[in-house]
């Protein structure tokens, strides 16, 4: 395997992705990601210089909506699936120190 994923990298990606991996999961993730990256490195066999990155497979552009209010009071539906709610707001662990 040419891509060696370190503990630091896995921890860093865990912070980015908000995933907490157990020791065993972490070892597996290091191995899996290393193998996938080795595989993805196959793309380097291709000379892509001068090729524009393609986000959409065919051109769609200039899709707009008009500036007209179409939605009424959405609080009830917005909150219907909330795990925790208070005063029509979502409750989360505190974010202020």
């Amino acid at each position: 395997m040419s891509n060696i994923i370190t503990d630091e990298t896995i921890d860093y990606v865990g912070i980015l992705a908000k995933l907490d991996l157990s020791g065993e999961e972490k070892e597996q993730a290091k191995k899996d990601m290393g193998r996938m990256l080795d595989y993805i490195d196959k793309l380097n066999e291709l000379d892509t210089s001068g090729v524009e990155p393609m986000s959409h497979a065919f051109p769609v552009k200039n899709v707009f909506r008009e500036d007209v209010v179409t939605n009424g009071d959405g609080s009830e539906t917005t909150l219907r699936n909330a795990p925790e709610e208070k005063d029509s707001m979502f409750v989360v662990p505190k974010t202020f120190d």
């Binding site: 707009f64 500036d67 939605n71 005063d87 989360v92």
Partner: protein, 476 residues
């Protein structure tokens, strides 16, 4: 000798655009709805929802770009900025990194050393976040997504400013341009204009920039000025003590006049930007650009010139009136209704400014209509009311935009034009104040003033002071 330091400042200014609906959905942007009432699946990140760009957002962004001498990106895209925080329902913000709508502009500000160009690095469109409220009782945070998805432009300046004064001048300039365009009301207190300050210090004459910090949570020009001073000294103190300045984001606490670092180990500050696959790119044609350009309003410099030529107003008046698009609009509309320009200007310069100041309001908050101001001027010019009454009426009009004609009629404030009635009152006053009459006759010119006042009082203010004066002199 102590080292001399130079402050280097760049600004990231967020401006809420004056659209009816949010940037990617048909929810209202109105202030003051009950929590989460202005929300839908799109602006709350429900699974399966998709964004569609509000046409007006692009128009405003392009208009601001043209007015600030930017080049407009003819093929631009939206990118996702990924970070977890509860005010951001998708945990990514739709913004622009790789191909922002505007680049490489500038605005000119006045400084004691003369005019100075402040470069604009870029302007991009993005969505605002929701509001977090700390619940003291439960010691938790509550989330309201009413502001989530409100359209913003972020105007990123070059690090071209060197003092708090320049920063304020730059912000004032941006504010005026954007208000003139009608793209935003730009109220700092209400958060429709927000500035983050990037600041570094370096020894005077040094070529390289120092390490910069980013200061957030600045809600007024005063807070901005104080934060700049505070951060400048903090960084100089660090450098003097031989300690490094850490590149970080800091939050300004205006009450405590201090800032603290916002960074935590859970924030990697790696936003993993990539083009949002849910949105189509925007391609801007020559025709579109011309159309936006043709709709650009008369800006302040042109307006000032025209006011001088057309209305022959004093420079001071022009400066004040054009300093607010709203005030200039009221001025022009009132003049258009037939009022004499200098009279209109006087009402704005004196009574309006006084009341705004007393009530801590901005010119943007003026509520009276040009129609009512024109009527009030008419009433005074035709001597239907005197100036004291006019000021009283104006104050009511300033508060509630009443129709002055109706008000004067209803309250019975019209001047008494009946010469006989006035003559009888003057005669009574002369009879009741022999001492003052004596003083006047003995050459004390001032005594007549007292007699005028007594007459006005007896007439409950509804007399024309000129007529009273004339009659007194005639009868004495």
């Amino acid at each position: 000798m102590a080292k001399e330091y130079e402050t280097v400042i760049g600004l990231e200014v967020h401006v809420e655009l004056a659209t009816r609906t949010k940037i990617f959905c048909g929810c209202s942007t109105a202030f003051g709805g009950s929590p989460n009432s202005h929300t839908c699946p799109v602006c709350t990140g429900m699974p399966g929802s998709l964004p569609v760009l509000n046409r007006k957002v692009l128009e405003h962004a392009v208009a601001v770009g043209l007015a600030t001498n930017c080049s407009i990106t003819r093929y631009c895209k939206f990118d996702r900025k990924n970070y977890f925080y509860p005010d951001n329902p998708q945990n990514y913000q739709i913004s622009q990194l790789y191909l922002p709508i505007c680049r490489d502009g500038w605005v000119e500000i006045d400084t004691p050393e003369g005019a100075k160009k402040i470069g604009i690095h870029e302007i991009h469109m993005e969505e605002d976040a929701g509001k977090l409220i700390h619940d003291e009782w439960e010691d938790c945070t509550l989330v309201d997504y009413n502001r989530s998805g409100v359209p913003l432009i972020e105007i990123v300046s070059e690090p071209d400013m060197r003092s708090a004064e320049e920063v304020i001048a730059y912000l004032e300039k941006l504010r005026l341009i954007i208000q003139y365009l009608g793209a935003s009301d730009c109220k700092l207190q209400e958060g429709s204009m927000r500035a983050d300050v990037n600041l570094s210090v370096r020894e005077k004459g040094a070529a390289a920039f120092g390490t910069r910090t980013e200061m957030k949570n600045l809600n007024s020009f005063r807070a901005i000025a104080r934060a700049i001073e505070g951060e400048r000294s903090r960084q100089i103190d660090l450098l003097e003590a031989g300690e490094p300045v850490v590149q970080e984001t800091r939050r300004w606490d205006d009450a405590k006049e201090t800032s603290y670092a916002m960074r935590s180990k859970e924030d990697a500050q790696d936003y993993r930007y990539f083009p949002d696959p849910d949105l189509a790119p925007v391609s801007i044609s020559d025709e579109y650009l011309e159309e936006i350009r043709s709709r650009q309003p008369e800006f302040r410099t042109e307006k000032m010139k025209r006011y001088k030529e057309e209305f022959e107003l004093p420079d001071y008046d022009i400066e004040i009136i054009t300093g607010s698009k709203h005030m200039a609009d009221i001025f022009e509309a009132t003049v258009a209704l037939g009022s004499q320009p200098k009279k209109v200007s006087n009402w704005l310069m004196v009574e309006t400014l006084r009341l705004l100041k007393e009530r801590g309001m901005d010119p943007e908050d003026i509520r009276f209509s040009p129609e009512n101001l024109a009527k009030l001027i008419d009433l005074t010019e035709s001597r239907a009311i005197n100036s004291t009454v006019a000021k009283e009426v104006f104050e009511v009009m300033f508060e509630e935009d009443i129709d002055p004609e109706e008000y004067v009629e209803k309250k019975g404030l019209k001047m008494v034009s009946d010469e006989g009635a006035l003559r009888r009152t003057v005669e009574e006053v002369i009879a009741a104040n022999p001492q003052s009459v004596q003083d006047y006759r003995n050459g004390k010119e001032k005594a007549i003033g007292f007699l005028v006042g007594q007459t006005m009082k007896a007439m409950k203010g509804k007399a024309d002071p000129g007529s009273v004066n004339r009659l007194l002199k005639e009868l004495l």
